[in-house]
Amino acid sequence: MIASNSPAWVGRPTTDAESFTLEVNGSKRDVVCRRDTPLLYVLRNDLDLKGTRFGCGLGQCGACFVLLDGHPTPSCDLPVWASVDHSIVTVEGLSDDGEPSHLQQCFIEEQAAQCGYCMSGIMVSAAALLESNPAPDEAAVRGALDRNLCRCGSHNRVIRAVLKAAATTDATDTPDVAKAAKL
């Protein structure tokens, strides 16, 4: 019999709930949960930030990406204890007070999705890319998004949207990521 492909954290003994203080989208947030609870469930259920999506629970698909100290990181298998003392930015933090950011506006203009389920994770990866490389070429965009799976086949529109965002960003704009983390 092959073992079922379960996430590693579920096999461990269950510990009691503890208090944790997280820094999410620039705000301190207190939560009470077990220490090995993946950050994803804390964001979605304890902090009601539903934008970060469950895709595989195995860190393979990118749907649950958040920025951890600016780096796209799967939240589905990141224990909450390991996210304490780090800056966490979710897709909600990438918008402009709930309105589309420049990057998101480019996705809207390019109609760069079909079902849109993978888009939160893609937005996180794209924002991180533009922060570190404001003028990427197509190969750089493809490379930066390679850990994000899209099943509807929206790849080409996504690439166009990211390239458009890069080409139309005023150099004086505060990058989305820095703004979200209130840097």
């Binding site: 019999m1 996430p7 077990r34 393979q60 999705a113 079909q114 993978c118 099943r151």
Partner: protein, 707 residues
């Protein structure tokens, strides 16, 4: 609609069942079709705005519910614009006429003198006389459309035929709650199920106490082989399910076929044999000077949506139930749930909520039923169930493995005169209610019905294995036959395009061989053999778009073309693929031309075709559900890889304008042509035909050795 409307007493719905004018200057539109990620609600909103003469922004699409949406069956088969669009167009044209009549009657003028601009009713001089909004909730639309009102002519359109931004995408780019996974109902609990390790395994025992040791666990549910857990916290439901899984003992599973010889397996099984087409021409037979016979196969394919299935259910009483689902068919699902519990359908309400991309019959119905089974234990409290990634890969119903054999006969000039096509595979339909069965995984596990019987291919669904089993080329002597397997060791159902992808892949591979035999360019050969002018037009357009005539051959690069008309009655589609190939194949560019008749939302349609092309490329070169003697071994994204951003081909699409022709279903049209074009391009690059999908390095190597 929001308030329960008066329902039509006859089978014919009232126009008010579909169209509601609100006092707030909005038009609410109810349809039975559901958003699957394909943009259908946006296209239908365009149709409504167009016929009503209101701006697109005023239209609000109401999520489908069995409580009061029109029953439009499944959202499947690329039928929504053709069927639901036509019904909505008729309803809205009548609504506009009746509202104008009401205003005319009120003012004592003739309706012919009035016009409408964005819901404002204008008199003969163009002055405002009234508006739709003044007639809100006055019963004007509580009538059956009599067919005496003619919808607009296409040359009058200002909204249909123009690009419209999808209604749902801004929410999705900003991460706003919108998916069924994001539902958070008052008192909601979280459920998880524990599926058997392999098909056919029955539950012998499980240790419920281990799961109950977690303090937020509310209930452990065991009913036959159905096993699940409910908890206050989602993470604890996942933990408890794992404890249950570790404790569970199962009987031996049933044997699975040999995945490495799937074509031989399919051809050797007991099957129901159905003729699809039969044309006898003795004279043509006499003209055959050369016959080529080839075998092709494809593996089982997963829908592999990025989100695992999710369902929510709440039993309000022992005989009153609400279900939230991303199913393609809320009415059939309602029927299957009611049947399972011995309820009347009126006791069950099924509401659609968007899920991740749906490419056919996936886990949506099953996970909804899991939620129903679990929530039975928590009367009054809703339970949300999400499948694990592992369960999603192991238990969703796959697109069936298929085998095709073609014998094509040509005359002295190389033209096709004779065609024999045999298709083997399991059926493509096990949707809820299929063939009188409940058809839900949990119902079979919970012994509410016997094991799931073999999949079928109902003609009313547009066929399964028979879909596109007849070539569109000029053939005088023809035989096409389907062999549908009577046993189903691996559960199958509908995956985007059903049998069309495999049939078209096989036909187009053969056509390329015939072109080579005739020493004619593959594009020219197709143009010569295709009798339909619209077919030739898309082939020529795809070739033009790709720069076919000026293509440069170089080592390791190849070009291929393929064509099909989806279901032989829907959209015409031709694709050119450019690949880089030596020992493996990388699809670099795809060029697609589509004739879909009248187009509602050109950018939305292009988006569908682009996505379909990338998905078909992924199927063609990468994907196969893998299994050993007993178990599915493709259980995550590493064991079922799909094309990534670094590997996805560029896709260029051209749409042939046919505004005066009826709309033709388009959502699945690219699957077959893209797969065929890639296989033909691979041959162009390396000079070897690979006839078994996927076109992996192993398959290429095997084909080279066989050559």
């Amino acid at each position: 609609m929001s308030a329960a409307p008066r329902q039509s007493a006859t089978a014919e719905p009232f126009v008010s069942d579909r169209v509601e004018i609100t006092g707030a200057g909005e038009v609410r539109i109810a349809v039975g079709k559901v958003e699957l990620g394909q943009g259908i609600l946006t296209a239908l909103a365009q149709i409504a705005a167009e016929e009503l003469d209101v701006s697109f922004e005023r239209v609000r699409m109401v999520s489908a519910t069995t409580a009061h949406s029109p029953n439009e069956g499944f959202t499947s088969g690329s039928m929504s614009v053709m069927a639901a669009g036509t019904a909505l167009r008729t309803a809205c044209a009548h609504a506009r006429a009746w509202l104008v009549e009401a205003a005319a009657h009120h003012a004592g003028v003739s309706p012919e003198t009035l016009s409408v601009r964005d819901g404002t009713i204008l008199d003969a001089r163009g002055n405002q006389l009234s508006s739709y909004w003044e007639f809100a909730n006055q019963g004007v639309l509580e009538r059956v459309a009599g067919g005496d009102v003619t919808p607009k002519k296409p040359d009058e359109y200002s909204i249909v035929g123009h690009n419209a931004a999808r209604l749902d995408l801004e929410d999705k780019f900003l991460g706003r709650p919108r998916f069924i996974h994001d539902l958070s109902l008052p008192g909601q609990l979280f459920g998880r199920v524990v599926r058997p390790p392999a098909p056919g395994a029955q539950l012998l025992s499980a240790d419920a106490d281990a799961a109950r040791s977690i303090d937020t666990v509310v209930s452990v549910v065991q009913k036959g082989s159905f096993l699940g857990v409910i908890a206050e916290r989602e993470d604890d439901a996942v933990r408890a399910a794992e404890l249950l899984r570790e404790s569970a003992r199962w009987s031996d599973p049933t044997p699975l076929p040999n995945q490495h010889a799937i074509g031989d397996y399919l051809r050797s099984q007991p099957a129901e044999v159905t003729p699809v087409a039969h044309l006898v021409d003795e004279a043509a037979r006499g003209e055959v000077v050369n016959t080529i016979q080839r075998r092709y196969s494809r593996p089982y394919l997963a829908h592999a949506s990025i989100a695992p299935g999710c369902g929510v259910a709440c039993w309000h009483t022992n005989a009153e139930l609400s279900v939230w689902t991303h199913s393609q068919g809320i009415f059939p699902l309602r029927g299957a749930i009611a049947k399972s519990f011995g309820l009347e359908v009126s006791q069950v309400v099924v509401q659609h909520v968007e899920g991740a991309g749906c490419y056919g019959h996936n886990s949506a119905d099953d996970v909804a039923f899991d939620a129903v089974l679990l929530a039975r234990e928590t009367l009054g409290r809703p339970v949300q169930v999400v499948w694990s990634r592992d369960d999603e890969f192991a238990w969703e119903p796959y697109g069936p493995a298929m085998a095709v054999e073609i014998a094509a006969g040509v005359d002295t000039s190389g033209d096709i005169v004779q065609w024999r096509q045999d298709v083997w595979g399991n059926g493509h339909v096990t949707r809820p209610g299929y063939d009188g069965n409940i058809g839900l995984l949990g119902a079979s596990e919970a012994a509410m019905q016997t094991v799931l019987p073999a999949a079928v291919d109902p003609a009313s669904y547009g066929g399964g294995n028979s879909r596109n089993a007849v070539p569109a080329y000029r053939v005088r002597d023809l035989d096409a036959t389907v062999h549908r397997l009577l046993a189903m060791p691996i559960r199958t159902s509908s995956l985007r395009s059903l049998g069309a992808m495999m049939n078209v892949f096989a036909i187009e591979s053969m056509i390329d061989e015939l072109a080579e035999l005739a020493k004619v360019d593959p594009v020219e050969y197709r143009l010569r053999q295709l009798p339909d002018e619209r077919a030739r037009a898309v082939v020529a357009a795809a070739a033009e778009l790709a720069g076919w005539k000026d293509r440069k051959s170089s080592d390791g690069w190849g070009w291929g073309i393929a064509y099909a008309r989806y279901k032989n009655t829907h959209a015409h589609c031709a694709a050119v693929a450019r690949v880089e190939a030596v020992s493996s194949v990388a699809v670099r560019n795809i060029y697609v031309a589509v004739d879909a008749g009248q187009i509602v939302n050109p950018d939305g349609l292009a988006n569908q075709v682009e996505g379909g092309a990338v998905q078909a490329a992924s199927w063609a070169v990468r994907e196969a559900i893998r299994f050993d003697d007993h178990q599915i071994t493709s259980r995550d994204w590493e064991s079922y890889p799909i094309l990534r951003f670094s590997e996805a081909p560029t896709v260029s699409v051209t749409l042939l304008p046919r505004p005066d022709e009826p709309s033709l279903g388009v959502g699945e049209c690219a699957a077959g042509p893209v797969a065929g074009a890639i296989a033909n391009a691979l041959y162009d690059a390396i000079g070897v035909r690979v006839r078994d999908l996927p076109l992996t390095p192993e398959r290429i190597e095997a084909a080279i050795l066989q050559d």
